[in-house]
């Protein structure tokens, strides 16, 4: 990929400050695409590429969005699935396609409605019983493991605490800092400030996580529209150039000697993305880090190299991530306090910051943003470097 050959010109985010229980993911997806087209003042007839975030609860978006939008002339159509890391993969794929001339205007779409009564998450919330599970898969039901993400991330956090002495208070500092940012964002679901004491007194979910370590759930959608760097200059907003994308996917081999969840794919993905962008960590003005849980932020910052492995606890607890801090992190509140749209939460906030339109929460002189996506249970990782500054257009491929 050439650094900066493609750019983001359109952004649509449905209103997630209101709880909309009855709307479908497909309706939300179409709404977000309409908002994004309006944002970049392009007619839908200009869209020739559509990429949908997979792994979602409802299949209707990937199956029906093209027809819902009435797009008969697509030359690029795909659904991509790497969990919370998918957004970065979608940006990378769209960049390649635009660079190769396979499509000229590409919409990337995330949409989900986990709070709808018929969804599997909502079934557990509303108490719809699940029957016995046959075979060995039924063991989890006996143990009390229903596949909850909190349990899986708690396992990784327990390793980190064991190895490095990381504390719940240090995780809490991440939640407090992100709520500071959310208090300044009209897009955020949770805007009232919290203290470390609020975090420590919130109810336990799966130790070490308390309620305020966990992300929100949202019915909502985000659409992002990309085009070439040249075409981007004719759009109303300042272009946001895609300067670098990296992937790193360790999976979870389950074998001795591999510390799953403590060392993540962020190491490889971050390095590759920075190399492509031809910048270093010191050039990064703000980070938007995938935050399924507070711990995800801590381990990602370590693996990117902002601090040494094991020093994430002290690193995050000196206020540097919050408003006025030296490393602004999740400046829209992230998924802990802003809105839950998987990799499209950090991606969307990075676009807003790179444009310089974040209002009260705008980071000054925000040239380069590092954006993470994390999927599975720390199994998959993507990193995107976005910038208001054009890239060299050189193809930099790193295998360091």
């Amino acid at each position: 990929m050439e650094s900066g050959s493609a750019a983001i010109v359109g952004l649509g985010i449905t209103d997630m400050t209101r709880r909309r229980y009855d709307v479908t993911a497909l309706d939300l997806a179409a709404e977000a695409v309409k908002l994004a087209l309006d944002d970049c003042q392009l007619p839908k007839t200009q869209l020739d590429g559509l990429i949908v975030n997979g792994n979602l609860l409802s299949s209707e978006v990937r199956n029906n969005l093209q027809d819902a939008l009435g797009l008969p002339d697509l030359t690029l159509l795909n659904t991509m699935s790497a969990g919370g890391a998918t957004a970065g993969s979608m940006v990378q794929y769209a960049s390649f396609a635009i660079e190769a001339g396979l499509a000229s205007v590409v919409a990337l779409v995330f949409a989900d409605a986990p709070l709808r009564p018929a969804s599997s998450i909502a079934n557990s919330r509303y108490g719809v019983p699940v029957g016995p599970v046959s075979g060995l898969e039924g063991l989890g039901r006996t143990y009390g493991d229903r596949g909850q993400a909190a349990i899986r991330y708690a396992m990784a956090a327990s390793r980190h605490m064991h190895l490095f002495g990381t504390t719940s208070e240090q995780l809490g500092a991440i939640a407090v800092a992100q709520r500071q940012w959310a208090s300044l964002s009209p897009l955020a679901q949770k805007r009232e400030l919290i203290t470390l004491e609020d975090h420590q007194s919130s109810r336990l979910i799966a130790e070490p996580f308390r309620l305020l370590d966990c992300c929100l759930t949202s019915n909502g959608a985000v659409a992002v529209i990309m085009t070439s760097a040249e075409a981007a200059k004719d759009r109303p907003h300042s272009p946001v150039f895609v300067r670098g994308v990296g992937q790193g996917h360790p999976g979870d081999p389950g074998r001795s000697g591999f510390d799953h969840g403590v060392r993540t794919g962020a190491v490889a993905a971050g390095r590759q993305a920075l190399q492509q962008a031809e910048i270093g960590l010191n050039d990064v003005d703000a980070v938007q880090i995938y935050d399924s849980f507070t711990y995800t932020v801590l381990v990602t910052l370590e693996d990117y190299g902002f601090c040494a492995k094991g020093e994430g606890g002290p690193f995050v607890s000196d206020g540097r991530l919050g408003v006025g801090g030296s490393l602004p992190c999740n400046t829209g509140g992230g998924q802990l306090s802003g809105y839950y749209a998987w990799g499209f939460t950090p991606l969307s906030e990075a676009i807003i910051q790179a444009r310089g339109t974040a209002g009260e929460r705008q980071v000054a002189d925000c040239d380069h943003l590092m954006v993470s996506g994390s999927g599975g249970f720390l199994n998959y990782h993507t990193t995107v470097i976005l910038s208001r500054l054009e890239g060299s257009r050189r193809a930099v491929v790193g295998h360091a």
Binding site: L136, R141, T142, Y143, I151, M155
Partner: protein
């Protein structure tokens, strides 16, 4: 008391594939899978047709010692609305077995101090559900001493 609590948990339903595992659990034996080609061990969930190490097919059921250490752990304080809230808090963990392979997330039974920590030695113990299906749990071994899983 604990036996009653564990018996009240939802029972797995053995099928043809898992029958040897549950049958062995009834004899207080822990079966996991081993590759006949390279000898690598595998926890049987999720089930893969080929060895994750050498990709050979035909993994076989083999008896494991049942001994290991806690690799990761959490104490869970909530259940989904259709589960029984009287279960909480309960412990779940990942166990690194002496065979060099990790379990999926399994039920842990705390030691005498009501704790289960990363690094604590554990051994497999077996408990029957009300449906008569035997299920392995991993119990913290006292004073750090290893006890063979089949002696319980």
């Amino acid at each position: 008391m604990r036996e009653e609590q564990l018996a009240a948990r939802p029972s797995p339903v053995p099928d043809a594939e898992s029958e040897p595992f549950f049958e062995a659990a009834g004899r207080s034996e822990l079966l996991i899978r081993q590759c006949p080609a390279c000898g690598a061990w595998a926890w049987p969930v999720p089930r893969y047709a080929t060895c994750q190490n050498c990709l050979a097919p035909g993994l076989e059921w083999k008896r494991a010692s049942g001994a290991g250490v806690i690799h990761a752990v959490t104490r869970v304080h909530y259940v989904p609305a259709d589960d029984d809230p009287s279960w909480v808090p309960f412990m779940l963990g990942v166990v690194e077995l002496d065979e060099g392979v990790r379990t999926q997330i399994v039920g842990l039974l705390a030691g005498k101090d009501d704790e289960a920590r990363v690094g604590d030695p554990v051994r497999a113990v077996f408990s029957s559900t009300r449906d008569g299906v035997h299920v392995p749990w991993f119990e913290v071994s006292g004073n750090g001493s290893r006890v063979a899983g089949n002696e319980g």
